[in-house]
């Protein structure tokens, strides 16, 4: 736990330009992934005549609503590669972007509560080690030593039978991450255009040649979609389908507390994940609502379930108060893995399907998506995450590591 406070930021971090009539590339979605994509397009590929279109305000969608957990302890080789690459980028980005976003490598624990959990967790620790991802298996006593406020008694409904632990994992200040990318994008000449909603696409045959927006038509040679829960809506405008379903996902924070929680604790089984923000709020994530929804709010019974689990695991939370709750719209796929690559429409690319865990992947999503947009072909890290996998059957089943069941 740190007393480190966020830095004062300057009055202006980016311009608010009027959209130009044409760009070399347009990114739809001004969240973390869209901004990171624009940053790497400019930095790695020299594409600076580009725009990021955001229908609301910058980073006001899922980027503002996530629980900021960063880790790379995924089971399969493909996932470990892309998430571990993201983690390595997180480790250097504050310096590279010249902006402190309080990346705190305080470790992440994933609890096991059943024999099935234990076996799956130990298997995942083994897989992580083989992929060069730091991972340990902790017994309940070691769990208690690392996080003393956790209840490891065996008289609770789902006793703690151990945990996986990734020491290099942690949290970051999500808003500051977005601002850090936005500021650098702006410096590199990228136009960040807020309050600009895409209403359709211009096509020449099967090739996209422009974007229709509520602020006029923008001609462009390439379009990258990075709109998370609204990806299906955009794809439909462009004339193709995506195998994703949008669900509400909720989180909440308590009032500020003294530092009590030194790490990040996640539990798939009882469905809660908890960390303590730098300022002192307890940040807790819940599960998704079962039904499809775009309402950016979820059901109360989901939070009730989550709080019951949290209080059992952390008895001292019983006296805390919920300060606010909110929901975001997450884009889930059937294999709990993202889709990053080309689409059936020429020169249109998609980055979506990150579901409940896209924040941690922000730098790698941006890096690989920028590569895909600039070169027209996937980066080696996102090649397995192509839309075609649903036809070939080469799915990447990460339900065990995705943390939120969906």
């Amino acid at each position: 736990m740190t007393t480190h406070q966020p830095p004062e930021h300057p009055d202006f971090l980016w311009r608010n330009p009027e959209p130009k009539s044409s760009y070399d590339a347009v990114i739809v979605g001004g969240g973390g992934h869209g901004l990171a994509t624009a940053y790497f397009l400019a930095k790695n590929h020299g594409m600076t005549n580009i725009a990021v279109l955001e229908k609301g305000w910058l980073a006001g969608g899922n980027m503002a609503r996530n629980t900021t957990i960063i880790r790379s302890n995924y089971l399969w080789d493909e996932s470990a590669a892309i998430y571990e690459h993201a983690l390595k980028l997180w480790e250097i980005l504050p310096e590279e972007l010249e902006y402190d976003f309080l990346f705190s490598q305080r470790g992440v624990m994933n609890l096991a509560h059943t024999l099935g959990d234990v076996r799956e967790s130990i298997r995942r620790v083994g897989a992580n080690k083989l992929n060069g991802v730091d991972a340990e298996w902790l017994d309940p006593q070691q769990v208690k030593e690392l996080c003393p406020i956790l209840n490891i008694n065996d008289n609770i409904r789902y006793p703690v039978m151990g945990a996986t632990y990734q020491p290099r994992a942690g949290i970051a200040k999500h808003d500051h991450v977005a601002w850090a990318f936005a500021r650098k994008c702006d410096e590199l000449g990228v136009d960040i255009i807020q309050n600009c909603e895409v209403t359709g696409f211009l096509k020449d045959g099967n090739r996209v040649v422009g974007v229709k927006t509520n602020r006029g038509t923008i001609h462009t040679e390439k379009v990258g979609l990075a709109a998370a829960g609204h990806s299906s809506v955009l794809a439909e405008m462009a004339g193709f389908r995506l195998p994703i379903q949008s669900h509400p996902l909720q989180a909440l924070v308590s009032e500020l507390h003294e530092p009590v929680h030194p790490t990040v604790v996640m539990s798939n089984h009882v469905h809660v994940y908890v960390s303590q923000a730098h300022k002192g709020e307890l940040v807790m994530g819940a599960g998704v609502d079962s039904y499809n929804g775009y309402g950016q709010r979820g059901s109360f019974h989901v939070i009730e379930h989550q709080m019951a689990a949290a209080v059992e695991l952390f008895p001292i939370f019983a006296r805390a108060h919920v300060l606010r709750t909110w929901g975001g719209i997450v884009d889930t796929t059937l294999d709990a893995s993202p889709i990053v690559g080309t689409t059936p429409v020429e020169n249109m690319f998609v980055n979506c399907g990150w579901g409940t865990g896209g924040f941690k992947a922000t730098p790698a999503a941006g890096l690989t998506f920028a590569h895909t947009i600039a070169t027209g072909t996937p980066h080696k890290l996102n090649k397995p995450f192509a839309l075609e996998r649903f036809e070939t059957g080469a799915l990447i089943d990460e339900h065990g590591a995705a943390a939120v069941a969906h």
Binding site: H230, G295, L334
Partner: protein, 131 residues
């Protein structure tokens, strides 16, 4: 939480039900002739409509029967509840916003009843909303 009007049991809390995703997705009529693309459509692709959406629900702790529901995915308002096998009620403004292009994936019951607007034909009253 939704208050869902089961066609057999009446109004119950959402927690008694399980979600079954998009309604009216028919099993392919000639599965042996499907291409990989068409199989992918049948197995993995579902509409993700923003607006009125026809979906299946199971009353798992009640009558244990499946039924269909028309619900707005933005306001979460339940617009109609109807039995399995019945067509999607007419008159919903965004009916059929996205229909599957795959062969064998859109049964006749999937298409909204055209030319039938203006008549209130939902078999069960669309009771229930958020509470």
């Amino acid at each position: 939480m939704l208050l869902i009007s089961c066609p057999n049991c009446g109004s119950r809390d959402e927690t008694e039900f399980q979600y079954g995703g998009q309604a009216h997705v028919a099993y392919p009529e000639a599965p042996d002739t499907l291409t990989d693309r068409e199989w992918a459509e049948y197995l993995f692709y579902r509409d993700n409509t923003k607006g009125a959406f026809a979906e299946r629900w199971l009353h798992s702790t009640g009558c244990r029967q499946w039924f269909n529901m028309l619900r707005d995915t933005v306001s979460y308002e339940i617009q109609a509840v109807y039995r399995m096998g019945e067509p999607r009620p007419a008159g919903s403004p965004e009916a059929g916003a996205t229909t599957s292009p795959a062969a064998g994936n859109a049964g006749s019951s999937a298409s909204p009843a055209a030319g039938n607007s203006g008549t209130s034909s939902s078999p069960a009253s669309p009771e229930g909303a958020l509470k």
